[in-house]
């Protein structure tokens, strides 16, 4: 009995010590991965390019706000996390950050005061950035960005998530080693890998996360789970590696067009990806877009991803053309709401109205994105090459949940699509508690 008590007592003491350590031992900041001289000057324009590829602006600018002044609420499952002001303002921004402190934010998710950032900031990706890019980014934020005095709202999550020291545990468990070592054996492919795995942090949406810590299941293409599809809110971020995925079926040019302009002959981006294209990808040099496309193609996996097209397509077009009042509800709703643009063959119009036949958002295992588009509509991003925000209006105001479910099920099973049915409950979850 005494022994047991002693053991428990010892464990409690160790626990307290560890806890105190977790809370009070200062964070070790990762050292620079390359020894650049203090006088190192990044090439002109490099910092802005890095900031664009890393898409800092998308999160650190509030709607209608000044660039990089923060304030945007990122709605995490734990509550709203507010992006900080990263302009060089000394009072409310990062004007007082040294290079080492700045690097620690990118690599370790640790602020100047030693507190931990929530991993809504993609530091698990940014910690693979090269020292050259860190330097360029630092110079850009310190010298080129206009300081804005504006205090971003404080993030206040509920207990226990407001105990930021807990993130330290998460970091220990989840962070990959810092730095990027080329491993693809080809300069172009390695550039693509660097962008996808580090700078453009594509992986943070497109890689599945484990159920326990929500950490990504893989940090580079040597992991079989890497880029095999994730979920952002209700939006599926498609599997990019399965041999039947659109990313693998499309040509490099078609994939590149989608990234650079937000649309290609078959599809348009929507949801979070529309923001990534609008704020970041459209401004990448053509060579970077080509590198990303080549890299994605190079990491194809010999398996099907769950949206395998039917060998023999369903006779949907003929069925719709009959315009029979006896058609099932989903088909009738399609004729009345969708057919004007997407047409009976489900092929829409090249570059303008997306294909529904074979569209990864339509056939995704998680139907939340499709339901969201039907309810709320969607808009393509405005890009230099394709400036029009081609938009689909929402139909949530006129379709009930069971109707949306019937319609979504119809498009998921028509033409060559063969995805599971959508239920009224699925729709209710996306629409939210306020609606029917």
């Amino acid at each position: 009995m005494k022994t047991l008590l002693r053991i428990i007592g010892t464990l409690v003491v160790i626990g307290i010590v560890v806890l105190l350590g977790l809370i009070f031992i200062p964070m070790q900041r990762t050292a620079p991965l390359a020894n650049l001289p203090a006088s190192y000057e990044p090439p002109k324009g490099a910092g802005e390019q890095v900031a664009i590829a890393a898409d800092c602006r998308a999160c650190h600018t509030a709607p209608g706000g000044k660039p990089f002044a923060g304030g945007l609420a990122i709605n995490s499952p734990l509550g709203a996390i507010y992006a900080s002001n990263i302009t060089p303002d000394k009072k409310t921004g990062i004007g007082n950050y040294t290079l080492d402190e700045f690097r620690a934010v990118l690599y370790d998710g640790v602020k100047r005061d030693g507190s931990h950032l929530y991993p809504a900031m993609p530091y698990p990706s940014y910690r693979k950035m090269t020292e050259e890019d860190v330097r360029a980014l630092y110079a850009y934020f310190m010298k080129e960005v206009t300081p804005v005095e504006s205090a971003a709202p404080e993030t206040r999550l509920a207990f226990p998530f407001n105990q930021r020291w807990g993130i330290r545990l998460w970091d220990w468990a989840s962070l990959p080693p810092a730095g990027f070592k080329p491993y693809m054996g080809d300069a172009k492919l390695d550039r693509g890998a660097y962008l996808v795995e580090a700078l453009a942090h594509c992986r943070s949406c497109h890689t599945p996360r484990n159920d326990l810590t929500f950490a990504e299941k893989g940090y580079d293409s040597r992991s079989a789970d890497f880029l095999t599809g994730g979920l952002v809110g209700v939006w599926p971020a498609p599997d990019l590696r399965a041999k039947d995925s659109t990313a693998q079926r499309w040509s490099n040019e078609q994939l590149g067009a989608l990234l650079a302009s937000g649309r290609n002959e078959m599809a348009g981006v929507s949801g979070e990806m529309a923001l990534a294209v609008e704020h970041s990808l459209q401004y990448l040099p053509k060579s970077d877009i080509e590198a990303i496309a080549a890299y994605i193609k190079a990491i194809k996996q010999d398996r099907n991803g769950g949206s395998t097209p039917r060998a023999t397509p369903a006779p949907t077009a003929q069925q719709l053309a009959s315009a029979s009042p006896q058609l099932e509800l989903g088909a009738r709703l399609y004729l009345d709401n969708c057919n004007a643009c997407h047409f009976a063959n489900g092929k829409g119009a090249k570059n303008v109205f997306p294909h529904l036949d074979g569209n990864p958002l339509v056939t995704a295992t998680q139907s939340g994105g499709l339901i969201s588009v039907i309810l709320n509509g969607a808009a393509a991003p405005s890009t230099g090459e394709r400036p029009e925000r081609l938009a689909m209006p929402g139909f949530g105001w006129r379709l009930k949940n069971d109707e949306v479910a019937a319609l979504a099920t119809f498009v998921r099973k028509s033409w060559s699509n063969d995805a599971p049915a959508v239920t009224t409950e699925d729709v209710a979850k996306v629409r939210g508690p306020a609606a029917n």
Partner: protein
């Protein structure tokens, strides 16, 4: 005291077709450009979103997208002996409102003028002698030739993605197109729309009589298209909601679908809505404008200084603003002197309805520009000396829509209400088609615009006054077209048919819709005593004011004006960019 805004390089009054084109051209030239639009902002989504736009009562009958007469209108009379009264209920023509202007709610007929039309006075004089021009007719040459405008027509057609069949490529006639059109350097960007049953029946009948049918050049697109600005349009699905409606699915060319998405990305372009310009302000010597004064959404008066002023509003408003601002000498019909307000003209139209008991036209399948046309009686085909009129028409059969309230043609003798009307509707809906003439209207000494001495608008300014009536020359023209259309109609063996053409003594009636193709009042030319703007659309007296649009037409074409309005905008924009900006001065 008006609030003053920060000066801009160029201010554009009105953000419709010409405002959008000039906005893009001037922004591309590096200017800081501001557009002021009196109406609301509008975009495909949410403003034209399916299915709310598909509402004939709201938009087709109650005219939801149009100018409200209570906000802005003009007074109308037939002659100088009459008292003009305000146009209080929209009928004859429908001025647009809001971003996109009338470019939102048009049908999409996109024509080029004939080479002869652009030098009409010279053509008539050279070919038939000056004495065929009747007393009081004041037709003019435009001061710009077809060859000069050709690249700009081409640019506008490729901006829009016009779907059509060329009939004259570089002087070579091509079967299936209009053999009487001016030569074009290349074909249309897209193939024509598919032909509907009425078009086929009319085309077959016309061909059998030796005429030359072709598909109407259409801004309802036959396929997906991307234009020079990267703007994207989709294929038309023949929903039949074009005229009076905004297109639900990006398939009708408009400022929204063709320009504005790209223009709004430009950091040196901005626009303000609910900002109604009431005056162009002039410098002390009245040789230049200093900017414009507008009323903002709160009703506050604002002075917007600018180095360059582009009037890009609807034809009436351009002329009205010139008169209110003292730009150019107002036209006086008694002396024939003065230029601003001169040569107002309209469009002469007529038509024959055909009813076929056993033919079902499925009119709910329609498009604003779905039509088969013959141009065998165009301005350059008619012998004015022999026929006793100057002018011409294109003749067409279109199926634009099958809307249930207004598209219910009934044979003569059917009761207009009650059980008999219901029976007629049941019997005849979907069983009719029409053949129409769309013709020129000449300009006359006593058809003009000036300021009304009595009525004032909501900002206390005199209203614009229109004095206009039909003239025997143009009635003879439309009767001539009737004499050509009715034999075609009869050859098609309809169960019944009825004609509607203006006859001797007809007066202009503002109630029934005719067309919104009002022209003139700020006409272009090469003689400052006979035109309000020069051949580059620059006002003669105030060199930094340019005036776009159909107000520049010295008389009306036989065609719908938008193609020419677009071409003139690019033509003027080029002169501004390549010549005027380098050395601001009168260009002529």
């Amino acid at each position: 005291m008006a609030r003053q805004e920060k000066k801009t390089d160029a201010v554009i009054v009105g953000l419709g077709w010409t405002g959008a084109i000039l906005g893009m051209e001037l922004a591309n030239a590096g200017l800081q450009v501001l557009a002021l639009e009196r109406g609301e902002d509008r975009d495909t989504v949410p403003d034209f979103a399916y299915p709310k736009m598909i509402d004939e009562l709201k938009y087709g009958v109650r005219l939801g997208l149009m100018q409200r007469p209570a906000d802005s209108t003009l007074t109308i009379r037939h002659s100088a002996q009459d008292t003009a009264l305000p146009y209080r209920s929209l009928g004859s023509f429908l001025p647009g409102n809001g971003v996109g202007g009338a470019g939102v709610h048009w049908n999409g007929h996109t024509w080029r003028a004939l080479p002869e039309e652009l030098r009409l006075k010279s053509y008539v004089t050279e070919k038939f002698g000056a004495n065929v021009i009747p007393e009081g007719m004041t037709i003019e040459d435009w001061g710009v030739t077809y060859d000069e405008l050709e690249p700009h027509y081409d640019r506008f057609e490729y901006l829009c993605g016009i779907s059509g069949q060329a009939g004259n490529l570089g002087g070579q006639t091509h079967a299936g197109g209009n053999p009487f059109e001016g030569p074009r350097k290349r074909g249309y960007p897209l193939p024509p729309l598919p032909t509907l049953l009425n078009g086929k029946m009319f085309g077959d009948a016309a061909k059998a009589m030796g005429y030359h049918p072709f598909p109407l050049p259409s801004a309802n697109l036959s396929d997906a298209y991307t234009n020079e600005y990267g703007m994207q349009l989709g294929p038309c699905n023949f929903c039949g909601f074009c005229e009076r409606f905004g297109c639900i699915n990006y398939s009708k060319s408009s400022p929204q679908t063709c320009v504005l998405g790209a223009l709004k990305r430009k950091p040196n372009f901005s626009y303000r809505t609910r900002s109604e310009v009431i005056r162009v302000e002039l410098s002390q010597d009245r040789k230049t404008a200093t900017g414009v004064t507008y009323i903002d959404a709160k009703g506050e008066e604002v002075f917007q200084p600018a180095d360059l002023v582009v009037l890009a509003a609807y034809q009436f408003h351009n002329v009205h603003l010139m008169l209110l601002s003292g730009i150019g000498k107002p036209y006086a019909p008694d002396t024939g002197e003065g230029v601003v307000g001169k040569n107002y003209a309209y469009q002469m139209t007529g038509g024959t309805s055909l009813f076929f008991k056993d033919v079902n036209f499925n009119p709910f399948v329609g498009a604003g520009s779905s039509a088969t046309v013959i141009d065998d009686f165009s301005v350059n085909q008619v012998d004015f000396g022999k026929k006793g009129f100057i002018g011409g028409s294109y003749i067409s059969s279109g199926q634009f829509n099958g809307q249930p309230i207004r598209s219910m043609a009934l044979p003569p003798g059917t009761p207009a209400w009650g059980a008999g009307w219901k029976k007629g509707i049941k019997e005849w809906y979907g069983h009719s088609m029409s053949i129409s003439s769309h013709g020129s209207n000449m300009s006359y000494r006593d058809c003009y615009l000036d300021l009304d001495p009595t009525y004032r608008g909501k900002y206390g300014q005199p209203m614009l006054r229109l004095t206009f009536d039909w003239k025997p020359n143009d009635i003879r023209m439309t009767q001539f077209m009737r004499s050509k259309i009715e034999p075609i109609a009869k050859s098609m063996n309809p169960t019944n048919w009825a004609s509607g053409y203006k006859g001797d003594g007809a007066h202009y009636d503002v109630r029934p819709y005719q067309t919104t193709h009002t022209v003139g009042g700020a006409i272009m030319g090469v003689d400052p005593t006979r035109s309000a703007v020069n051949r580059y659309l620059q006002t003669w007296d105030v060199h930094n004011v340019f005036v776009m649009g159909a107000s520049a037409f010295p008389q009306n074409l036989q065609y719908n004006p938008t193609g020419t309005v677009g071409a003139l905008a690019y033509w003027s924009a080029r002169a501004i960019r390549e010549d005027y900006l380098k050395n601001p001065r009168p260009l002529m």
